[in-house]
Amino acid sequence: MTDHLNRIGVAQLGFIRRTGRWAKDAAHAVSLVRTWGPLLALQMRRLGVDSIPIALFLAVFTGIVLALLASYIFTGAVPLYFVGALVAKTVMMELGPVLTGMALAGRVGANIAAELGTMKVTEQVDALETLAVDVHAYLVVPRVFAATLMFPVVTAMAVAVGVVSGWITATSLLDLSTPEFFKGVRQFYHFKDVWFGLLKSASFGAAISLMGALTGLRTQGGAEGVGRSTTRAVVLGCEAILVLDAFWALVLL
């Protein structure tokens, strides 16, 4: 019994020590702006700009489905201009950030985990350490910052495209005029809806990139290990998105 308690205590102490070391390394890495600064734009383009098409593709169909679904739900009981309210509110606050985050968890998280995992198993990371390069500053920080900064950008575009696709669907496929649609959008619009979604997406970007980077740097066992790390990064990224989504809803709504 005493040994068991000792082991638990040692494990807790080890976790706290590792967390402290990780925080110290992270702070040190963030402070090395000259190391990660030049890489930021590249990562922003790779993780953010290059992800815009898939995010917009998702947003288009999300808006279409939401408009049709809303009209189906509201028919006969609720004025049809509520279609606009439902599409805008849902896309801004929930489906825009979450679906974009899910899509980017697959693309960005897998990308980071596979890239860093391959560098790890091919000992490129060890080579960087040998060259006295801060691995976290060089590999992790630019990716996390890039994802954190670019996820809101991608999400904002996705939200705009989602609302526009919902509007086009409502006016072309449903018996709804443009003024009626935007009457519904404006009726329940609050600026909080926008920044709430963008804040969530920033947190999703940070979590996905962090999961991908940490999982990649812990890769072991060659190509198979890279595959496991990639899968693990995507799964953890999606779980992180759902947990953060519930957290922000609990805290901010």
Binding site: G48, M150, M157
Partner: protein, 335 residues
Amino acid sequence: MKRRNEFFVGLSVIVAFLVVIGGAIWLSEAELGKRDVVHVARFREIGGLNVGAPVTLRGVKVGRVNAIRLAQNDWVEADLKVKLDVDLPATPVAIAASASLFGEWHVTVLDITDAPVDAVLRTALAEASKPGSGAWPGATLPDFGQLTQQANRIATDLGTMTGRVSSALDSSAIQDVRRSLRDLREAADRLADFAKKQTDPFNRVTTNLAATSDEVGSASKRVNTLLGRVDDATKDGQVNDIMNSTKATTADLRAASADARELLAVIRSHQQTLARILETTDTLLTKVQSGKGSLGLLARDSTLYLETTKTVQQMRQLLTDIQANPRKYFRFSVF
């Protein structure tokens, strides 16, 4: 390559920024460059009014609810951000009310003279008026939920009342009422028939009365004529002749009266004779009825009748036998 990355990243960020800021401004209907003025409205309670709810004047949106806060003495103050160039009523009041069935509320700005004629609302506005404060008096109309609740309560009361009426007017009471109505209808029918039947006799009576009246009128005319003639007769001595004729007639009547008196005396003597005959007959019949005398015995005693009948029958048999066998009773011999 690095510049190209920076360009694309910068472009994406700028586009996203414009989308977010532009969209926010457009959706919030904020008009940049136009100044607003904030008016404070005082309510006792604001119902479902929220920040951002539209402020309307004669149905046109002229602003938004900018802030809502609790104030002293159980009041609620709402800041109404209204466009500066809007001509507001001289004595504005703010009426908060639900805009639809779906929980949307808005504030309508009215002149106090145009406020709905509702005692509760007027009282609330009068209570919210605070001279010198600069705040608009405000009142809240009941939302659809409250109205629905009220209607539901009324419906329940009506249902209860209907149930009570139904239990009071049970089947026997209804039957009594029906019976009374039927009796009343029958009585009315009888009255109608009676009136119909009596109409003709009444008409006839009326006609007869009219005819009688005419007859009386003509009779009075004839009397007048007769009186005129009498008057004329007295003038020519015709009355004396009439009186003489009357005397002669009276003498004849006296003679006839004496003859009649003698006739009556004869009749009276015949009457007495007839009375005696009747008395004798009555005595005889009484004796017969009481069985006295031969005739009485014959009438009352059946033995005599039977014996007589029997004798007659024997006589007939005897005659019959004699006719059949004459030699049995009569014998003729020469020698």
